[in-house]
Amino acid sequence: MRTVERPGAAAPTRPVAAVRRARTGPTFWMAVPALAFFALFALLPLGGVAVLSFMEWDGLGTPRWAGVGIWIDTLTDQATIDALWRTAVFVVVSYVFQAPVALLLGVFMAGRQRYRAVWSVLYFLPLLFSSAAIGITFRSLLDPNFGLSRALSPGTLSTNWLGNPDLALYAVIFVVGWCFIPFHALLYQAGVRQIPASLYEAAVLDGAGRVKQFRFVTLPQLRYTIVTSSTLMLVGSLTCFDLVFVLTGGGPGEATRILPLHMYLTGFRSYAMGPASVIAVLLVVVGLALSLLLNRLSGSGRMQSQQAGA
């Protein structure tokens, strides 16, 4: 294929090709609609949230400048500190739950056995439902009187999972995991299937059993998938809103009021859009920091290296 050195490989062979192509290339107008949508409804709001975080706005009237006071008030507010701490617990516990299950499930799904293919179809099902649908289903399933607790013999599971402030956050973490693990398992499945069979054959010749194959072939070969999946998992938990909103609305009390909920309730229930914007900026900053950190840890250019490994 001679296509390789053409447009795709932008960086290395740019100068000569660029000059020649400039004349025959398409007009900028082709990109204008997409860029306009993106600039107006994605970039502008991103800048807007920073501006609004310094303003007072009740959601109806005109925003008024209020200065850094809002930042100081919001960051020293006990509710924000609690929400930050809760979010940290939520993100970490979610990760500890989701990552191993998704990895193992993905490896399992990558197997060529017939029954695994059939099961994989069913593993996929949670991905088809909206967060609202899943939230409502689990609310009713976890109902202390008419849900699972009644189906199983009395005593087992018959707790008010979503109504008990000590348990609600963990119940929510379980449901969020139920919802997102299939997606990450799919990523791992695709990753495992790209591992050359020869590596396993060599491992078997060296006398490696199943556990050792997993440890010394599968895991190292999946490192880029692990980074991608981990990034998506951590940022996904950090910004998880819909499901928690439908499941508990942040309650009982404030037991599941993680940052995105805290932002929504502050802005759209208490009509304090300024403080809500401060929380939104926190979300953006922490989210970006997490992505960058993970990318740094994994070394740069993961897309290319992954393709090269295939």
């Binding site: 001679r2 296509t3 053409r6 795709g8 932008a10 740019r14 192509r21 290339g25 398409p26 007009t27 082709m30 609609p33 997409a34 860029l35 949508f37 409804f41 994605a42 709001p45 807007g48 609004l52 959601g59 193992l104 399992f108 197997g111 695994r116 099961w119 593993y123 099902l125 949670p126 991905l127 088809l128 439902f129 909206s130 967060s131 649908a133 409502i136 289903t137 609310r139 399933l141 008419f146 849900g147 139920w178 693990i181 299939p182 997606f183 799919l186 695709a190 078997v204 059993g209 199943r210 950090l238 809103f241 819909d242 909103f245 995105p260 932002m263 802005g267 809500a276 953006v284 989210g287």
Partner: protein
């Protein structure tokens, strides 16, 4: 732990783990279907995991009588228009971004791809402000515009990777034959990026169809309510009639389930789009 497994033994532990997760996955869905077929009275007395003693479609009838079809058609309109616009503008942009080779194109691509890192949740307040200012609050258009914008980074990423693989000679020979930008876009770029367009289309359709945040923030009247939001309001409306609420949940997922049965391959590749591989 170490060296327990010998190469030919079946992986019993793996199968048991897989079976366990299978049960965890299926039970809630099984419960959902079963309960939606129960009468309201039976719901209070029967074991929720056993089939209903007298299955009934009453719950479904109640949902259909309560504007379900309107919410369905709102969802269809929003999804179809959003996906169509996303595909069109992303394809046009990808053609330019790949083939132009100017610094402007490279810069634009970098900015658009940065958009992958913008969490939608964090921008809802300015989006809300913007939609109010544009006089679009509580309209279907209000749901489409931001959805289109936030779909562009991932769509462009996927499509650009495809357009890059089209041999440069094809563009040059079409150009030499006197074809304009639109001709090239229509008869060269579009057919050759079809798999990417399908992937993007499936992925975005699912995103928009199941989207909850924008409808929650940007609409309020029932005339523009879409399905995911309607589930939430049904929950308030039907309150104690749990079978009806769950019938609405089931109905809302049916179109996606049907699509899944017809085009599972596309759905799977669409979902892992841009992240996997």
């Amino acid at each position: 732990m170490s060296g327990r497994a010998i190469k030919e033994t079946p992986n019993v532990l793996g199968a048991l783990g897989g079976l366990f997760w299978l049960v965890v996955t299926v039970v809630p869905i099984y419960y959902l279907l079963l309960t939606s077929l129960r009468s309201q009275q039976d719901y209070y007395v029967e074991n929720p995991l056993l089939p209903p003693s007298s299955p009934t479609l009453d719950a479904y009838r109640l949902v259909l009588e309560n504007d379900f079809l309107r919410y369905l058609s709102n969802s269809v309109i929003v999804t179809v228009v959003t996906v169509a616009v996303v595909l069109a503008v992303s394809l046009m942009a990808s053609y330019y971004l790949v083939r132009s080779g100017t610094p402007l194109a490279r810069g634009s691509l970098r900015v658009v791809l940065l958009g992958l890192a913008i969490p939608v949740q964090a921008t809802i307040i300015p989006v809300y402000y913007l939609i109010i200012r544009l006089g679009l609050y509580d309209s279907l258009l209000a749901l489409m515009l931001p959805a289109i914008a936030f779909a562009i980074p991932i769509s462009v990423l996927i499509i650009v990777n495809f357009v890059r693989d089209i041999p440069a000679e094809l563009f040059e020979s079409m150009r030499a034959d006197g074809a304009g930008d639109w001709r090239i876009l229509w008869s060269l770029v579009t057919p050759l990026s079809r798999p990417a367009l399908i992937t993007v289309g499936v992925y975005e359709a699912l995103q928009v169809w199941n989207g909850f945040l924008f409808p929650l923030i940007l609409t309020q009247s029932s005339s523009v309510r879409v399905l995911p939001l309607s589930l939430w309001t049904y929950q308030g409306q039907f309150a104690v009639n749990v079978p009806a609420v769950l019938a609405a949940v089931t109905l809302s997922a049916l179109p996606v389930l049907a699509a899944f049965i017809v085009g599972r391959r596309y759905l799977v590749s669409g979902l892992t789009a841009g992240f996997g591989k």
